[in-house]
Symmetry: C2
């Protein structure tokens, strides 16, 4: 690791997103998701399973007050521990007890995190007041020792930290810390941050290398990266130490989760349970991404954080191996990960079934977390390429175009009849759902989209990195001088980018990522026009006014430097060519098939445009692509039409017949962006289509 | 239904199988499976999970004696009911209680049935003595009231017939009756038959339309057809009545299984549990084969039996609809059924995944039961075609060539790595297993193969039907005159059949099935040689000495009649041409692919012959087939080589790449019969291969 290359995200308070595409997504989150989510937290969404999240905090707070009034330091546990407290059929019969999943507290934390980010982009006094009142409710539940997990506060604190594997206390802590940091950074208000610190201190007292301390680690990772955020905002080194402890401890023998005692399941002969938790090996010995995909990428994100902050080369090397394993062997072309619904997990290498994929929205989000952390260590476009692919496809597909419904599972092929009739595909929904009892994906989308600027740009002393060409205005202070950088683009539809710099004769570098997708159009952009003053870099990227800058290219970034003035503009053109893509021949599910991409977008076929039985279609390998403006609902898109063939089904009703000649007719295939699928009702969808070579 | 067309199987005692192919299979059953099975029943197979079957009978018998000695009619239940009695880790600690699955008794019944059939073909005094002693043990457990299920005899008879849905009492009865009939027919010994009758009488007293009688029906069907067999051998009409009652009662509302009370599972909103048991609708209203595939075809077999014996047209119509549904929409080309392991069940129409198939051996066996019963009602080659396809492929693949290991699941595509690493494919084994705790398939294969003659031939007053050209010698008495019919063929390798009739100037008809597969070679067999005395029937079937007979053709059968003499010979030639077959375009898994068949055999590619990564191969549509003699182990086979292409994988390690030109090399594909796969160690296998049209 070369510390001089480390970069850090730019504070959202120094970014105003102006991008029309992303501004629209952020407005959906602000106007639809955040209010809906608040209603859900408070059990007031009709027809949706109650969350009981805020209610649990209130009950815990009430018990806290009662305890304080009585001068007691301990209350006798009143309720049984069952992991999930079944909801009563009649809500009138609610008792003063904990309801819902053990991780229900995190619903609040994800909400407050999204709120924080949103306030940086769109100040909203009413929302902030509401958030403050929610924080008051949450903080009132905190115990004298800093502990703050309502499941155990309500059910009895004698059992805290006794089931790390399944009971998500450290997960809830992690989300609380992330939310607290975000809200503090957005508003400067530190009440929740202080609560998170006190909870962290309580955890630090309990866990660690010291004698008598618990040697456990989280069942569901997130605390690792959350502790780093807490460290970075407070400067308190014990949080970094604790994060590192959790990471170092993981997978050591004897297995902590065994010592916890889960006699009912021993992990089986092949130890599937350890793989599930990424606890099968010490993390530095792990070379294959396994188990629950969200947990995995949350862990790897925390590992990258700790590697960067502690200069731990072996930990960074492990991150690199796991990264390569994912992107070279375990990732869908949409940036989705987690090929099997069993354990919501990675499947084996190159096993990427399209119609039974799990491909959880949250896992793509976690992959983006991981990618940005790798970028913070080393600016290499290979990380940003995947980040972009996951963002525009695997993540965006998780939310409807109107922001009102969500996918957990993002398959690459859907036959709605199969989703209803085949139990093996029951996890795949052909249309987005309103909300979920286990509400992980919608609020995760909300917090990612609201903070997308933190992924687009990072910086270090002398360089501003643009990883994603998301339009936005950045203000920076470099050597005491104010600099503003205004990026505008028409991505994902057009490859032109304009960057206006307004600086007081300041020297610094702009580092601009060359997207992987522009290589396909190298010839188109450069053509015969390559000349001084309009130079062509390799890989389909053109800088119009190149002679104004000192230009270097490294690891997929163009480094432009000069003494910037008050009227500098960089004009880039990235070739954006529609292109058929094949998967590695090792991917059995995609053999003989191709997907269509253009720029960062993956495209798909939908029944609405192409009729039923998408499996009968094939796309011609030698093809020209017609790209045209279109709409899905009120949303502008570019659709792509290409030549294909449709197999003509025989009239015969027999199931098996002598192989005849192939009867086909020419058809025009209409592709739409993958993230827009299932916004026109239930229908078939297919990303990978058979190729007709002749 | 036209009763004059009804046919009945020929008694095995009038058949001697001489066919070299089938004789070999029968000898494997006699010399390998039956002795192994007996050892398994008695828990003396090292390394195999104990069956406890005979032990349970002995315990029940002991309790019976104690009860009789004490003059008691009722023993207080001593043990708890749990459905499955976990086996103690230390066998020394065995108590006098029931161990194993609730259906463990049926292991004996399947064994005794196979023994019975085997004795008809190969008398064996030692085996018969062993069988008699086993029967003594079983009969000693029978209660005064005729009840004979050790699970309830040992655990307490107060609970009998209280959990029909899950506890398999009527299933155990069914197998007992089938075994008893077989053993009686083979040996003339009726001790077990009488026991089965007394058990049937006990059930008849408990169940039926009469007031106060229980209105339930079996959770796992088989009693329906078993009762018919009991009726046919004893002439006691109440058995037929009871079978009909079970069939009529099934699926009526309110659902009996609900009334039984299984509060823990209500069947869910979509009533999956009722579908599972084929109890979602009255049987005459059922049009789609659903649920557990073995149960389904056992039920349909019983329905066909009852339809035939009671002249019930509506029941026969239901059988016809369900038959068509299976063979036109839910059957693999191997005659396997049950496309999903979830519930070992039929999936939805045209959903026939190759690599996750359940395709249980027992389900193909059940389909053969159903087919023969349909043939008994109406001799139509469409039933026999499926019967033959299932027998030579979906069933035979269930047993290793040495008779020592077995498949439950018969997939049409296997990547061994996936079976080990992907939990969704854990049910698919890449090599056959020694024996199973739940021992249904191996003994089911044993009883089918031992009685294969009963499927090959049926008869009625004036006609002898040959459905399968399995070599055998039949003796018949027609109008007081002895007739012998000696069939010989080289099936499944050659299409020539010779039938020698030795009769004392007797008039009768030989009805000879024209297999579906010979149509493909119509031209080849007939060519320009069609002439008097060597006439060609349609569909690739030639009768050399046709002018000697009066010939009719109907429903896929050639009816030959004459006044047969002492020196008549029919010489048939069925074109046996290797042929590529496609599946209906509605089968998404097989689109663009073809399977290779020759005669009754489905062929497949194995890694042993074709290298790894079978998915990279394609077979040329316009092809010539080279058929040659070969061996797998000591077993003669014909292998087929054809031209194909192998895609050359790119050197690039990236998961996704721009679609390049298709790089392929010509290869020779080597196909072997599907039933022989996985006899040369663990390797990849594939039935459906992509087609290269140009």
């Amino acid at each position: 690791m070369d510390k001089s290359k480390f970069t850090a995200p730019i504070s959202l308070s120094q970014i105003q997103i102006t991008d029309s595409f992303w501004k629209n997504e952020m407005e959906l989150v602000r106007t639809e998701v955040i209010p809906y989510q608040w209603a859900a937290l408070n059990d007031s969404v009709e027809g949706a399973a109650p969350s009981y999240c805020m209610r649990n905090f209130k009950i815990a707070g009430k018990m806290n007050r009662e305890k304080q009034q009585k001068g007691e330091s301990y209350i006798e546990p009143k309720y049984t521990f069952r992991g999930f407290e079944a909801l009563p059929e009649n809500p009138d019969k609610l008792e003063d007890k904990f309801y819902g999943f053990v991780f229900q507290d995190s619903d609040f934390s994800k909400w407050i995190e999204a709120v924080g980010y949103s306030l940086t982009q769109h100040p909203d006094a009413k929302l902030e007041k509401l958030a403050d009142s929610a924080i008051d409710i949450v903080c009132a539940a905190q115990q004298d020792d800093g502990y703050l997990d309502t499941y155990y506060i309500i059910n009895g604190k004698d059992k805290i930290f006794t089931n790390l594997r399944d009971h998500h206390e450290l997960y809830c802590f992690g989300h609380l810390a992330e939310g607290a940091v975000a809200y503090y950074q957005a508003t400067g208000k530190d009440k929740l941050l202080r609560a998170a610190e006190r909870f962290a201190d309580c955890i630090y007292k309990h866990f660690g290398a010291g004698e008598g301390k618990c040697k456990g680690y989280p069942g569901h990772e997130i605390a690792e990266m959350a502790l780093v955020r807490l460290y970075e905002v407070t400067g308190d080194k014990k949080y970094l130490e604790l994060s590192r402890f959790f990471i170092d401890q993981r997978g050591t023998k004897p297995y902590y989760f065994d010592m916890e005692g889960h006699p009912e399941e021993k992990g089986g002969a092949d130890g599937l349970r350890y793989f599930y938790h990424q606890a099968h090996l010490p993390v530095r010995e792990q070379t294959e991404a396994v188990g629950h995909a969200v947990r995995a990428v949350y862990l790897y994100s925390g590992m990258a954080d700790v590697a960067r902050l502690t200069g731990d080369e072996s930990l960074f090397a492990a991150c690199g191996r796991l990264w390569d394993n994912i992107v070279n062997k375990k990732m869908y072309i949409t940036g989705a990960i987690g090929a099997t619904h069993i354990g919501e997990a990675f499947s084996f290498e190159y096993d990427l079934p399209n119609d039974t994929a799990y491909a959880e929205t949250c896992a793509s989000i976690g992959l983006i977390f991981f990618a940005r952390r790798m970028l913070e260590i080393k600016p290499d476009a290979k990380y940003a390429d995947v980040m972009e692919r996951a963002l525009y496809n695997g993540v965006l597909s998780g939310m409807a175009l109107d922001g009102k419904s969500f996918f957990y599972v993002n398959p690459l092929e859907v036959n709605p009849a199969a989703c209803r009739k085949d139990e093996r595909k029951f996890h795949v929904k052909p249309v987005r759902q309103k909300w979920f009892g286990c509400a992980c994906c919608p609020p995760n989308i909300a917090r990612l989209i609201s903070s997308v600027g933190a992924y687009a740009y990072t910086e270090n002393d002398n360089t501003l990195f643009v990883h994603l060409y998301i339009g936005g205005k950045l203000t920076k202070n470099i050597g005491g001088k104010n600099v503003s950088v205004d990026i505008s683009s028409q991505l994902p539809w057009e490859g032109n980018v304009e960057i206006k710099v307004r600086a007081e004769h300041t020297k610094f570098r702009l580092a601009l990522r060359i997207p992987d997708w522009c290589a396909a159009g190298a010839e188109e952009v450069c053509g015969d026009n390559a000349q001084r003053g309009n130079i062509c870099l390799p890989l389909g990227c053109k800088i119009e006014n190149a002679d104004e800058f000192n230009i270097e290219e490294k690891d997929g970034y163009i480094y432009l430097s000069k003494q910037w003035t008050d009227e500098d503009t960089v004009r880039l053109e990235f070739a954006m060519k529609a292109m058929l893509v094949s998967a590695s021949a090792a991917v059995r599910e995609d053999i003989g098939k191709a997907a269509l991409i253009r720029g960062p977008l993956v495209y798909c076929l939908e029944e609405k445009d192409n009729g039923k039985n998408l499996h009968l279609l094939s796309v011609k390998a030698k093809n020209s692509f017609e790209i045209s403006d279109s709409k899905i609902g009120d949303n502008y898109i570019k659709k792509i039409t290409v030549l294909g063939a449709a197999q003509i089904a025989a009239d015969c009703t027999a199931l098996y017949n002598p192989l005849g000649t192939l009867r086909e007719k020419d058809v025009t295939l209409t592709y739409v962006p993958y993230y827009t699928w299932a916004n026109r009702g239930e229908n078939e969808m297919q990303v990978w289509t058979r190729v007709k070579y002749n």
